[in-house]
């Protein structure tokens, strides 16, 4: 029995979600308490397992038993270091976000039970992905996180933009998931197994071409979930959801699931399975996303959108690292990024709440004096993100750049360039929002955030500073046998320091210390293009939604209305309905008619049987 304790990681949040939804849908306080307790429970369990507690191998549940010898679907748990340490990130940040939500959602008129049930169902889904021992189970979790993300982005569904964003996120992910599903089927066909543990031996003898196709198909899933170019469009819109949700799902955990999955595959298939072509595709997609998102971020005014594009850009880094066969570096960055980006989002959330739900940085200003602790925490996160030496993000970015310069110098220079742009837009954000004087009424009235919001911020700020050092990273980075790369002053260090200084100076030169009231770089065609997100979203709207969909809609409309609805459904329904009327007409209430029908029937039966 005790060996099945790890199933609690999945069962507990799922159960709590159901209870919140069904029983306590009118008692938000109880629902919130239950959700927090479940997050706390899974976190404690995770800590217990990481500190060496062992309960044996959890049982495997045969979900769809089929004839012996053929395929059957299993649900099993992987409990290796990669999974358990990832669980620590998920449950740890999850717990802090749950607590933060208490303060953030206070006074919100929407149904908080629904909100917390959504968070719990997300915790369940994310844990499923992390702990899955085969690709089918990963896929279940994959779809479930999509579903919970849909619920949470659309939490304020009465706002049209939120409802649209939820839909957009869901549909865009569908595109990626289609590729992912193809990849899973290919894996099954090529390797004959979906279980991660069996993949290593199955790889031998598969032609490189087939391997490339399989890996790229699986990578499609990661493109959707981790919002890589060209499916990145949903993530900035997802910021319509409540900010704690953005912190948990759209910054720290769910969007990182793509990277996690690719690293998991890399470990179980072996790096040999990632052929040169596949690696090139993956690294290029990552690099394009990193550069493009960073550039767009320089002209965003919404504090959450800046952070969203920065998430895209950092995810691009990680994917690039995966493509450079540096899974360790990718996971290291994933892990530090999870802490500091959650910090940044929660900090942004605190700022937004304190400025009466104002998200435009040009309507803030001077916040450093009014809410110093929050701003200080936010700055810690920023320093980690822009890789100030000594902060956690610095170490992980160095790891990626080190891997890049060994494997492919071109990607190194791209990475360094992105680092400079990152520094530029984050410095711009901080200067405009926190320094100078208040530019709007909301910012004038801002006060320090409440304790339930400050506590997670402080804890995350600590993690943002220390999580990169070996004494923490060696024990917590989700990778097998990880040891933090020893820091040495070398070529990469100089380059990234140069990028940092360059970005910092440029931002200060342009924006001063918050004295300006509008963006001096705005109002030219480049800025407009960046504000319009390089017209990618518009292009999708025109070509895909407008063109393809319309064209497809006509064809489908024809099949649907003429063949399916006209002939099959309505025709069959008509026929069935007529027979039904006939039958109920026999049942007219006349006893004689009844006896007659029964008598006829009796005759028929007797003839059938006896003659």
């Amino acid at each position: 029995m005790i060996q099945n304790l790890p199933w609690l990681f999945l069962v507990l949040p799922l159960l709590v979600a159901a209870i919140d939804w069904v029983v306590f849908h009118k008692c938000p306080k109880t629902a919130a308490t239950l959700s927090i307790l479940s997050a706390l429970g899974t976190f404690a369990l995770c800590v217990a397992y990481l500190s060496g507690w062992q309960t044996g191998t959890p049982d495997v549940y045969t979900w769809m038993p089929m004839a012996s010898g053929t395929l059957s679907l299993h649900l099993g748990l992987t409990m290796d270091a990669l999974a358990m340490r990832m669980m620590l990130v998920v449950t740890g940040i999850g717990l802090l976000v749950h607590i933060f939500s208490l303060g953030y959602m206070k006074g919100d008129s929407s149904n908080l039970s629904r909100y917390f049930a959504g968070l719990s169902i997300f915790m369940f889904s994310m844990s499923t992905i992390v702990l899955a021992d085969n690709l089918a189970m990963t896929f279940i979790g994959w779809e479930m996180v999509g579903f919970s993300s849909y619920l949470l982005i659309g939490h304020w569904f009465h706002k049209a933009s939120a409802a649209d964003a939820a839909k957009k996120a869901f549909i865009t992910n569908r595109v990626g998931d289609f590729g992912f599903l193809l990849g899973i089927l290919l894996t099954l066909g090529v390797f004959g197994t979906l279980t991660f543990a069996d993949m290593g031996t199955a790889v031998a003898g598969v032609t490189p071409c087939l391997l490339t196709v399989t890996v790229i198909c699986l990578f499609c899933g990661a493109i959707g979930k981790s919002a890589q170019f060209p499916l990145h469009v949903w993530l900035p819109d997802a910021m319509e959801g409540p900010t704690p949700v953005s912190a948990l799902i759209h910054a720290a955990t769910m969007v990182a699931a793509g990277v996690y999955m690719m690293v998991r595959l890399q470990i179980s298939m072996g790096t040999g399975a990632f052929t040169e072509t596949a690696c090139m595709v993956i690294a290029t997609v990552g690099a394009i996303t990193a550069v493009m998102a960073a550039i767009i971020a320089t002209q965003q005014d919404d504090i959450k959108r800046v952070l969203a594009y920065s998430t895209l850009s950092q995810l691009g880094y990680m994917v690039m690292a995966v493509g450079l066969l540096a899974g360790e570096a990718a996971m290291f960055h994933l892990y530090t990024h999870a802490w500091f980006k959650a910090l940044l989002f929660l900090g942004a959330g605190a700022v937004i709440v304190c400025c009466h739900h104002e998200q435009d940085i040009w309507k803030m200003g001077g916040l450093a004096r009014r809410m110093p602790v929050t701003v200080l925490c936010f700055l810690m996160g920023t320093f980690a993100l822009i890789a100030v030496p000594g902060f956690s993000g610095f170490f992980s970015k160095e790891a990626i750049l080190d891997a890049a310069i060994v494997n492919h110098p071109a990607f190194f220079w791209i990475g360094a360039g992105v680092a400079a742009i990152t520094t530029f837009y984050m410095t711009r954000l901080c200067l405009v929002a926190f320094f100078g004087s208040a530019r709007a009424h909301g910012a004038e009235e801002a006060r320090e955030a409440s304790p339930t919001m400050l506590l997670p911020l402080l804890l995350l700020a600590v993690m943002a500073i220390i999580s990169g050092y070996g004494f923490v990273a060696d024990y917590l980075v989700p990778a097998e046998g990880f040891s933090a790369p020893g820091f040495h002053i070398g070529f990469t260090f100089y380059v990234s320091l140069g990028a940092l200084v360059l970005g910092l100076l440029a931002a200060i030169a342009v924006y001063g210390f918050g004295k300006r009231s509008s963006d001096p770089l705005g109002n030219n065609f480049i800025a407009t293009a960046l504000r319009k997100r390089l017209y990618i979203d518009a292009l999708y709207d025109k070509v895909l939604v407008g063109g393809l969909q319309q064209c497809g809609a006509h064809i489908i409309e024809f099949i649907d209305s003429a063949l399916i609805r006209g002939l099959l459904v309505q025709g069959l329904a008509w026929l069935v309905g007529r027979v039904g009327i006939l039958l109920s007409w026999i049942q007219c209430g006349s006893l004689r008619a009844y006896s007659c029908v029964a008598g006829l029937g009796i005759l028929i039966i007797i003839v059938l049987i006896a003659l």
């Binding site: 069935v576 039904g580 006893l591 029964a598 029937g601 009796i602």
Partner: protein, 488 residues
């Protein structure tokens, strides 16, 4: 004399009938009390009778002569008396008029007698016991169906049931006579069947037509009880007209009796169920045709019903059709599968009738539109109703899905030996789909239609709440447990 008796009929022990005697005893005590003690409120009898029936249900499970059908019959009887307990407002108005409860006492005691008949029927091993016990059930049911003497529908139902029931009894007795004439015994046993068919009164090796005539007539008698075509004609009118507690009894307990009888009739033929044997081919073919006709009549006839009780009447025909498919697969575990299906059907149907009775008492109508807006006014009750109707329709995660799937699997299994039954499959698919349409009519009324201004939230009586909750939980637990059970 003794010799003839042992030759003609099976031997029984007293122990087999203990539960039946207990029920009869309770019923007798209640009837006496009803006559001589005027001070007691009549509802007390209902409660006593219900508890008695449910306790006997426990006894049938634990006792020496356990029988799944006995348990189901006692359970169904107990629940239908509980329904009568919550239905007293209408009962009083329809029996004595106003709120006077005079004359309602027997209404609660009689189902016990009928139930005792069913218990005897499940133990029957010869046709005499079958006939006597069946008549105990039927005669009591006639009285119960026409019990609301101030209600025209109830009287009409009673008369129709009596006339058509008399016809079916006649057919059954006729069949029994042929049986005795051809085989020289009343005992239902495979050896009798085999002996008669192989070396019967006619030349050896040929099929005794007279014996098959007997079998046909006996089956028809059983078809009447289960509501299978062509003997289904009484169901819609009687179900709609009879008092709701009686309808419940007819729909679940009486149907259980019918299937117990059908099993007893079919089991002797099991050894012959080999493709190529003439009798087997014929029986499979007939059961296939009857099942198809029953499915079509029940499910398609239900499509346009607007009265909830009549709808459930057609539904009970349709569900019987799915059970009859088990009988097509003669060599399979017919009894176990039928019991499972009846269990799911009983739980869901009882809950549905409790809901109808509650709506009838408080909104004064049994039409489907009387359920309007329950999703808004009584969300929890509405959910329980959804569970029971979803189970009837066969929605996954409810027990109704599993048993309906078993029905499909049963057909697919038998198709491996008798490929000629392929045509039954599309009929099952279409009728199962039709089920979704008409069961969801009630769900649609509850959630899609807005409550009108005068609609107050229903006040759910205690027994109704308990039974509906228990049924819903049982349906979901029994529907999901086999899925979880594969944990290893």
């Amino acid at each position: 004399m003794n010799d003839i008796a042992t030759y003609c009929s099976a031997t029984y022990t007293w122990g087999q009938f203990t539960p039946a005697f207990i029920l009869i005893g309770i019923a007798a005590v209640l009837l006496m009390a009803d006559t001589f003690i005027k001070a007691l409120p009549k509802r007390a009898y209902a409660l006593t009778a219900a508890i008695g029936a449910l306790l006997v249900a426990c006894l049938t499970v634990s006792g020496e002569h356990t029988n799944a059908y006995s348990f189901l019959a006692c359970l169904a009887t107990g629940l239908s008396i509980l329904l009568a307990y919550d239905y007293t407002k209408v009962s009083c108005a329809s029996i004595a008029g106003g709120s006077n409860d005079e004359g309602t006492g027997e209404f609660y005691a009689l189902p016990l007698v009928a139930c005792a008949g069913i218990l005897c029927l499940t133990q029957a091993a010869d046709l005499i016991m079958v006939f006597v016990s069946l008549e105990v059930v039927t005669l009591t049911s006639y009285v119960l169906a026409g019990y609301f003497r101030r209600n025209q529908g109830s009287i009409e139902a009673g008369i129709k049931y009596l006339v058509l029931g008399a016809m079916s009894t006649g057919i059954l007795v006729f069949g029994a006579a042929w049986y005795f004439g051809m085989s020289g015994t009343f005992i239902l046993d495979s050896s009798v069947v085999i002996d008669t068919l192989r070396v019967g009164s006619v030349a050896p090796g040929t099929v005794a037509i007279g014996f098959l005539m007997a079998v046909a007539l006996l089956f028809l008698g059983a078809f009447f009880k289960v509501g299978a075509a062509p003997m289904h004609v009484w169901i819609p009118d009687v179900y709609q007209g009879a008092p709701t507690p009686t309808t419940t009894f007819l729909a679940v307990a009486s149907k259980t009796a019918g299937f117990a009888l059908l099993c007893a009739l079919v089991v002797p033929f099991r050894d012959l169920a080999i493709p190529g044997v003439l009798v087997a081919d014929m029986l499979v073919c007939v059961f296939g045709i009857v099942a198809a006709a029953t499915l079509l009549i029940g499910n398609l006839g239900a499509l346009f019903q607007s009265n909830a009780k009549r709808l459930l009447g057609y539904s009970s025909i349709g569900q019987a059709g799915f059970i009859l498919v088990f009988f097509v697969n003669l060599s399979g575990p017919v009894e176990a599968l039928t019991f499972q299906y009846l269990m799911a059907y009983t739980l869901a149907t009882v809950a549905a009738f409790f809901a109808i009775a509650m709506v009838r008492t408080q909104r004064g109508s049994e039409e489907i539109c009387a359920f309007r807006g329950l999703g808004k006014t009584n969300p929890r009750t509405a959910f329980l109703i959804v569970v029971s109707f979803a189970s009837l329709a066969g929605v996954p995660l409810t027990m109704g899905f599993l048993v309906k799937m078993a029905s499909f699997i049963s057909l697919v299994t038998v198709m491996q030996s008798w490929t000629c039954l392929v045509w039954l499959l599309p009929i099952m698919v279409v009728t199962a789909a039709a089920g979704f349409y008409y069961y969801f009519k009630i769900i649609r009324a509850m959630y899609w239609e807005k409550p009108q201004a005068e609609d107050k939230p229903l006040c759910v009586p205690f027994c109704t709440a308990c039974v509906m909750t228990a049924c819903a939980i049982a349906l979901i637990v029994l529907g999901t447990w086999p899925l979880i059970g594969s944990f290893r």
